[in-house]
Subunit: 266 residues, 2 copies
């Protein structure tokens, strides 16, 4: 959707390593914004995006207009029943169906061999991987790690909305995930306990309001009772009027390490 | 869906004229059958189908099994809001979404340059053309005329369900369409009048029960008030337990001719 930051550029750099031709699409998809969401004020620094893309040696920029993508009689949509109502889908009904539909259109127009997505939009990556598999789309999906500011805030085009105080409060997402990580590393696996501790972290920040905090299986996005390797801790928090998301995939070594120490103890 | 008849074979023959390689798919798609529909008893004369295909010089037969097409976690579907609730969609909820989904999967697996469909399933052809256009699928759709038995009954795999008396009554669909055609040729264009006359024709047959008779715009499937060139007269009739469909696209010359005679009279 443009307003490119280092997270986006990391995708281009990785793609540059393993492909001959890099196509970047920029399309602020109106259908994936809810009525009260930020479609109109979403940042559109188009000239600067072009500059960044030429610095990164992207080969093609694809930025169609709305009428080309959605002619008047457009009426087709792709839905993923079990996945799109979960996590962010709860407060953004229709969002992921609109994302799946535009992404499938872009895949069909551009016919990429490999497509690169950032892990920050975790649910989006799960849904797109599932759509590609369910609809037999001949495209490989790669998901690259979240890129963060020095203090830990996940990069997002929406960070531009934050005032100075809000920018400080926005760190609560990363702080809450770090808290969860430490708890898990110390052997706590009861999700209820972890989620409550994360809520406490966030509630210490004035402008922050939790939308959701969930620990889910990374394939079906169902809540799990006990955190295990491969599960994802995902959260959405409103900082003032700005809704931010972040997540953490519990790595494998944590539990291997923990199992090993348990073995020593018993 | 197999149970091949001359309607299917006409598609293969046309494809044979203009392509190097012909792939035929046979897959009785469970998801497009309603709960009380005929999935279990749908005819499956697989050996005879293979024989017919080799006689027609088809190159590849693609007949995947259910688990390959729909793995346990399958959850994606394609929907076409304004088109799928109309005509047959009214009495077959979910049917056209399931059709669009399987057809898109087959397109993505087989990557055909041109795909051939029969006009008998008229709504299906409209929905597939719209899906292809809306989702930017790089496949050309060709729709070929309905193939009929000598007496006029449109060929259908479901004709195999008909008993002797039912087979006679099944002709009512063609008779009703012929009645409509004659009315239009004689200058009657009020759809209400045409539809009522068609209903009378069908009600003369004992085992026949009208599901719907509609005259619609061929692109958006909306009912029209007055029949015009390019509109489609579509109907579904139950003959005993067997639901049959048929249709007639009002050709262009009819109205050119009629306008001309009107011009002479006034």
């Amino acid at each position: 959707m443009g307003a490119l930051h280092d997270g986006h550029l990391s995708l281009i750099r990785e793609a540059r390593k393993e492909n001959d031709t890099i196509i970047v699409s920029i399309f602020i998809n109106p259908l994936q914004f809810g009525e009260n969401e930020d479609f109109n004020r979403y940042p559109r620094p188009f000239k600067n995006d072009c500059l960044l893309l030429s610095q990164e040696n992207a080969d093609i920029l694809f930025c169609p207009n709305r009428e080309e993508i959605y002619p008047v009689s457009f009426c087709t949509s792709v839905t993923l029943k079990k996945l799109e109502d979960k996590l962010c889908g709860k407060s953004r009904p229709g969002h992921f169906s609109a994302v799946a539909t535009i992404v499938l259109k872009l895949f069909n127009i551009l016919k990429p061999d490999i497509v690169y997505f950032g892990q920050k939009d975790f649910q989006q990556t799960v849904i797109i991987k599932k759509m590609v598999s369910d609809l037999n789309v001949d495209t490989k999906i790669k998901v690259l790690p979240i890129v963060r500011d020095k203090d830990g805030l996940a990069l997002s085009s929406r960070n531009a909305y934050l005032g100075n105080d809000e920018r400080k409060d926005a760190l609560c997402l990363f702080k809450a995930l770090t808290k969860a990580k430490h708890m898990i590393n110390s052997g706590i696996t009861l999700n209820r306990e972890i989620i409550n501790a994360m809520k406490s972290v966030i509630n210490d920040y004035k402008s922050a309001k939790v939308d959701y905090i969930s620990i889910v299986d990374q394939n079906n996005l169902e809540d799990t009772e006990n955190a295990k390797s491969g599960d994802v801790i995902a959260l959405a928090v409103k900082i003032g009027n700005t809704r931010l998301i972040d997540n953490y995939i519990i790595p494998f070594f944590v539990f291997i390490f923990y199992s090993f120490t348990s073995f020593l103890i018993y």
